[in-house]
């Protein structure tokens, strides 16, 4: 667990980066710090591993005051990933990943073996280890950055806009990977971003900062979206925050019925029972079947896109289980939204 207690940071030029911050970041959870640039979120993150020293207040990692520890040793015990990956261009990927183990005094063989293991963990091919960072794509470099941070198996991981510089497709992949990794590793992660969608996707808790280093609200994503503390938070979350909330709910509870027969549109199945397309007298249109685990937002989207207004539901193997109507989905979405408000209240 990471605890901030009345932490202030004022830079020598007089600007206050963090103002009276008290915040707990629970163990084994992802806390996302979000806000526009200059709101103190990165400074907050960098105070945890003493890349920035607080002006006053205390910061504890697992009960120990960080300022009472040797800065270099503290940093070796905390994983650190930055935006441009910051890989060492003169070292191979494998040696980059082995950085912290080597600093901790492991022998080279053991450090390299550990690094090779991590290449696989972050989804890179083994032969990438012999390459140099500039020979990798931006997304691959970021994976190496994550592997380097994980090398000594630190309980805490600090990530400073790690996916900020990659294209949206790769960004989504990296977010999925991080969620998968986190399920396995259960680290205490502090993640800085200015992207609300990224925060909602990754965060167990989201802390919203306002310019001047003020923490405005810290809550689980659903609560934040349903009950923003003030206009600033509501504005920051954007006009579609109702839809964003639906991205956190699954389709599972929406009722489904049998697929229609003899209407304008027929759902055509393959011999195994998997949906192929929607068919009418004149034409065929594609179908995008959804599983129970898919979000209500995806269901709402598909109900609009589907020519029949029906969403095809499938099981884990892709076999049709039934269809849900546009109205059912809409009603359920409305209920889910008001339920979130009530729970939050």
């Amino acid at each position: 667990m990471i605890q901030f207690d009345a932490v202030h940071k004022r830079f020598p030029n007089g600007t206050t980066a963090v103002h009276d911050l008290s915040l707990e970041m629970p163990e084994g959870g992802v806390t996302v710090l979000v806000g526009s640039s200059g709101c103190g979120k990165t400074t907050t993150l960098r105070m945890i591993n003493r890349m920035v020293e607080p002006t006053s207040g205390t910061i504890k990692v697992n009960g120990k005051d960080v300022t009472q520890q040797d800065a270099a040793e503290l940093r070796r015990s905390i994983g650190y990933v930055i935006q441009q990956a910051g890989l060492f261009p003169h070292r191979t990927v494998l040696d980059n990943i082995a950085t912290v183990p080597l600093l901790l005094g492991w022998n080279r063989k053991r450090a390299r073996a550990r690094a090779a293991e991590l290449l696989e963990t972050v989804g890179l091919a083994a032969d990438a280890g012999k390459r140099y960072p500039h020979q990798l794509s931006g997304g691959q470099q970021q994976r190496v950055g994550v592997a380097r941070a994980l090398a000594a198996d630190p309980p805490v991981l600090l990530m400073d806009e790690p996916f900020g510089a990659v294209d949206p497709v790769v960004r989504t992949q990296l977010q999925d990977e991080l969620l998968r990794l986190q399920k396995e590793l259960n680290k205490t992660i502090v993640f800085v971003t200015h992207d609300v969608d990224e925060a909602v996707r990754l965060g167990d808790r989201i802390a919203i900062f306002r310019t001047g280093g003020h923490l405005v609200q810290c809550a689980p994503p659903a609560e934040l979206l349903a009950r923003p503390a003030d206009d600033f938070v509501a504005d920051f979350l954007g006009a579609e925050r109702g839809l964003k909330l639906l991205s956190l709910q699954t389709l599972a509870a929406v009722p489904q019925g049998p697929a229609p027969r003899g209407g304008d549109w027929t759902l055509v199945l393959d011999p195994a029972g998997k949906p192929l397309h929607w068919s009418s007298k004149e034409t065929e249109l594609p179908v995008r079947p959804l599983k129970d685990g898919d979000s209500l937002l995806a269901a709402l989207n598909e109900s609009i896109a589907s020519p029949s207004g029906l969403v095809a539901r499938v099981d884990a193997d892709g076999v049709l289980t039934g269809v849900s109507s546009r109205d059912d989905i809409h009603v359920h979405a409305g209920q889910a939204h008001s339920a979130a408000r009530v729970v939050a209240a």
Binding site: R75, R76, I82, A85, F88
Partner: protein, 220 residues
Amino acid sequence: MFELFKNLGTWLTSGSQWAGQDGIAHRLGEHLQYSLLATLIAAAIGLPLGLLIGHTGKGAFVAINLASFGRALPTVGLVVLVFLAGGLSMLPVYVALVALAVPAIVTNTYAGMTAVDPDVKDAARGQGMRGHQVLLQVELPLALPLIMTGLRLALIQVVATATIAAYVSFGGLGRYVFDGLAQRDLVQVLGGAVLVAVVAVVLDLLLSSLQRFLFRHRTA
């Protein structure tokens, strides 16, 4: 004109010209000895200075002003000055050559250090490297291509200027230039000058191909 070059060719290729105490081989050896020793001393002064300024970010004005100082320095004047102050020895020559070489080494080392990506330095510190580890494991290796360029430039300048050893009665390839001038032997002057130029160019080519080989994995 053609006659001059023909005589120069004979001068450069005759066996007797290469042998003996006053021969080209011996003078070349002396010249290289002066140059390498002066560059080595300059490196021992300039490298730590450049690394220190680059690592701490303090005293950058020293590195920058040293460059213009180096360009403005009258080498022969310096030789004469130290000669007058300290008497006849190789000391004035070495002082002048070292003073010529230090600025190129300091400014290039400093430039190499400042060119290291701040994100990479930040990451190095963030992974838990101490100051000297950041310097030795990250900054120095990354600055090395520019540091080597500085050493190369310094050596070439020193080789070209080491002719002044002969000015205060010592050896090296400058002997031919100054003796030739005194004897109004144009072929000898030209021969000495050509030899110095060839040594400088050859050293430059050797060192730059060494650099290319060492840093073949680097991008820019």
